[in-house]
């Protein structure tokens, strides 16, 4: 287990390093932020002073070394646009994105698993077919368009829910969260549902496939032959078998939900990291772009690692193999 952990951690460091190089070169090689950040009327001296302040006069490799050196100490540079540390900017907005992502994940699980189980339990029924058709639609609908439609229906036409912003937040464990206020919830519901839709379709498909596959297994028939109730067979025997792959895949998908939050945040003006990155790309705010990408990639690597460990805890068969090796 330790060997496995160490190997995975080393892999992670290598990936991060490569990423930082690619991102840095790519991002710093294009455009000229000076043109954007300094007013065209500025004279030569002002320009030079700005270039110096931003460290843009150094050769590329030197800029990278400085960047790397600072990155290790948690200093990812200062945003050109905000003049605050890039890392701080992102960390500031991270709770909003995480809250949105987790709420979306929660919705997709809470809605997707029961629907998927029903569709797998009664695949030929009208409800079963309808659920499957819905999941195909969920896969095909572009997230941003669904977001627009949600706004159109629930915010504009029905006027039930607000369409933008995060609403009232409360401090919890030092973070600003909105799930403890009614207003926060009303703001969270639409974007979270929007972000959840795609994953929900995935959960439905996974659960349904798992359900159908497991229902044919001998252990189900044996459990029924023991005289267990249908409820116990489904919710204990089958569910435990289905949950292992579903949890694994969902865990891996958490990272992609965070990445896709970019779209939802833009539509619902949700003040998270995703909206920040889009603005930064448009403004060529390099330090923020680099910091965002590095942080997201790190989050990815951590999530994958945690899921791997979780998987081995969940499945007794894997656990045993790990112990033996």
């Amino acid at each position: 287990m330790t060997v496995f952990l160490i190997r995975r951690l080393m892999q992670a460091v290598v990936v991060l390093f490569v990423m930082s190089l690619i991102v840095f070169i790519g991002v710093y090689a294009i455009g000229n932020p000076i043109d954007i950040l300094i007013s065209p009327e500025a004279d030569q001296i002002e320009r030079e002073r700005a270039i110096e302040a931003l460290g843009l006069h150094l050769p590329m490799w030197e800029q990278y070394l400085v960047f790397l050196q600072r990155a290790v100490t948690g200093d990812l540079g200062r945003s050109f646009a905000f003049s605050t540390p890039a890392l701080e900017l992102i960390v500031e907005r991270m709770p909003a994105t995480l809250e949105l992502a987790i709420a979306a994940m929660g919705i997709s699980i809470l809605v997707g698993i029961p629907l998927g189980m029903w569709a797998g339990f009664r695949p030929e029924s009208l409800a079963g077919r309808a659920i499957m058709a819905g999941s195909i639609l969920g896969f095909s609908l572009p997230t941003f368009w669904v977001g627009l439609m949600l706004i159109m229906v629930f915010a504009v036409h029905l006027g039930w829910l607000p369409s933008t912003g995060r609403g009232e937040t409360v401090e919890f464990l030092g973070l600003q969260v909105s799930i403890f206020t009614l207003d926060g919830w009303s703001h969270l519901l639409l974007p979270a549902f929007n972000l959840a839709l795609f994953k929900m379709a995935l959960v439905i498909r996974l659960t349904r496939a798992g359900m159908r596959e497991n229902l044919l297994m001998d252990y189900v028939k044996f459990a029924r032959a023991k005289g267990l109730s249908t409820g116990r067979v489904i919710f204990v025997h089958v569910m435990k078998n289905i949950m292992i792959p579903v949890v694994t895949i969902l865990g891996l998908e958490l990272g992609s939900v965070i990445a896709f939050a970019v779209v939802t945040e833009t539509i619902f003006a949700w003040p998270g990291m995703g909206k920040l990155i889009i603005d930064s790309i448009n403004q060529l705010d390099r330090p923020v772009i680099v910091a965002y990408l590095l942080i997201t990639v790190s989050m990815f690597i951590i999530i994958n690692l945690v899921v791997d460990i979780l998987y081995s805890v969940l499945d007794p068969r894997v656990r045993l193999k790990e112990m033996k090796s």
């Binding site: 368009w145 915010a155 990445a259 779209v263 990408l293 990815f300």
Partner: protein
């Protein structure tokens, strides 16, 4: 298209006649079994036709400013313009006919999607074939990259690429190719590994044919079916991804108004209830993606040898 009711062949029918059917015909017979997929195919054909014929059938050239009348701005669907013409799907803020805008938009979206799909397929297929044919270090290296890349969501990779490359139609295509090639590579490597062990490849190698010839003339054609399936699905993905990027304002430039840009354009008017500027391009996008996905799903079933009776 002949409209015949497909005779249900009973599974238990004794001694079925081994009818002589060309592979293409047989493919079609199996394909049309699923009515929804046929509808999807019809949708695809319709969309491609519309895209090709857009300049001929559009009521106006939406990007010829001379033809636009700013007084016709933001008209509702079905409204009459100043010049007496009817805007069936309404107009946008500049008085542009939405129907024409959508037809041109489909053209651009489809072109970007198909171009990136074809390029990604070429790159991915070459990489996958290389990995499968040479094995060993080459295989390990390529597949490592593929695995690594596939562990990141497409949107994140696209963001990285856009951040690195900047905007522009060529750059978006490059970004889409970079995002997608790995899917093709993995698919074709899997199939090619199976094919490689078959006798005809051994035979070709025994004849001392060049590696390139064996790979491209012998191996590749036999790996095509799964490649076609992945290709269909990936083109749909590419169109959706391009639309998303364009919607976010980091995709195509405004000089290339794809469906995503049209939708983004109407976003601000949506809150004031002028739904049509965003709604109809979105519907066109949805129709395109769903049609392609339906065809892809059925292709998967028909071309999958394991499901063959």
């Amino acid at each position: 298209m002949t409209v015949t009711t497909p005779d249900r062949i009973e599974p238990a029918a004794p001694a079925a006649e081994p009818a002589v059917v060309s592979p293409l015909r047989r493919f079609w017979i199996e394909f049309r079994e699923n009515k929804v997929a046929v509808a999807g195919l019809a949708g695809c054909i319709l969309i491609v036709t519309l895209a090709i014929l857009a300049p001929l059938i559009s009521p106006q050239d939406p990007y010829d400013l001379m033809q636009l009348d700013i007084m016709d701005g933001r008209l509702e669907p079905g409204a009459q313009g100043m010049a007496g013409q009817t805007y069936w799907l309404g107009t946008d803020d500049q008085g542009r006919d939405m129907l024409s805008g959508i037809l041109y938009g489909i053209r651009i979206s489809l072109a970007v999607g198909v171009a990136s799909g074809v390029l990604a397929m070429m790159l991915g297929a070459s990489m996958g074939l290389l990995a499968a044919y040479f094995g060993g270090r080459v295989d390990t290296l390529i597949m490592r990259i593929v695995d690594l890349q596939l562990s990141f969501p497409a949107i994140l990779l696209a963001l990285i690429m856009v951040a690195v490359l900047g905007q522009g139609i060529d750059k978006i295509i490059i970004a889409l190719v970079a995002v997608q090639w790995a899917y093709y590579a993995r698919t074709i490597r899997g199939t090619a590994l199976v094919e490689r062990r078959k006798e005809y490849i051994e035979a070709a190698r025994c004849l001392a044919l060049g590696d390139a010839r064996v790979v491209f003339r012998h191996l590749l054609p036999n790996c095509l079916p799964p490649l076609i399936v992945v290709g269909t699905v990936q083109v749909a993905h590419a169109i959706a991804l391009e639309a998303t990027l364009s919607f976010l304002g980091i995709g195509l430039p405004i000089t290339e108004p794809s469906l995503g840009l049209l939708i983004a354009n109407g976003f601000e008017y949506m809150l004031s209830g002028k739904y049509w500027i965003s709604f109809f391009p979105g519907l066109a996008l949805l129709l395109t993606i769903v049609s392609i996905n339906l065809v892809g799903d059925q292709l998967r079933d028909v071309l999958n040898p394991r499901l063959r009776k």
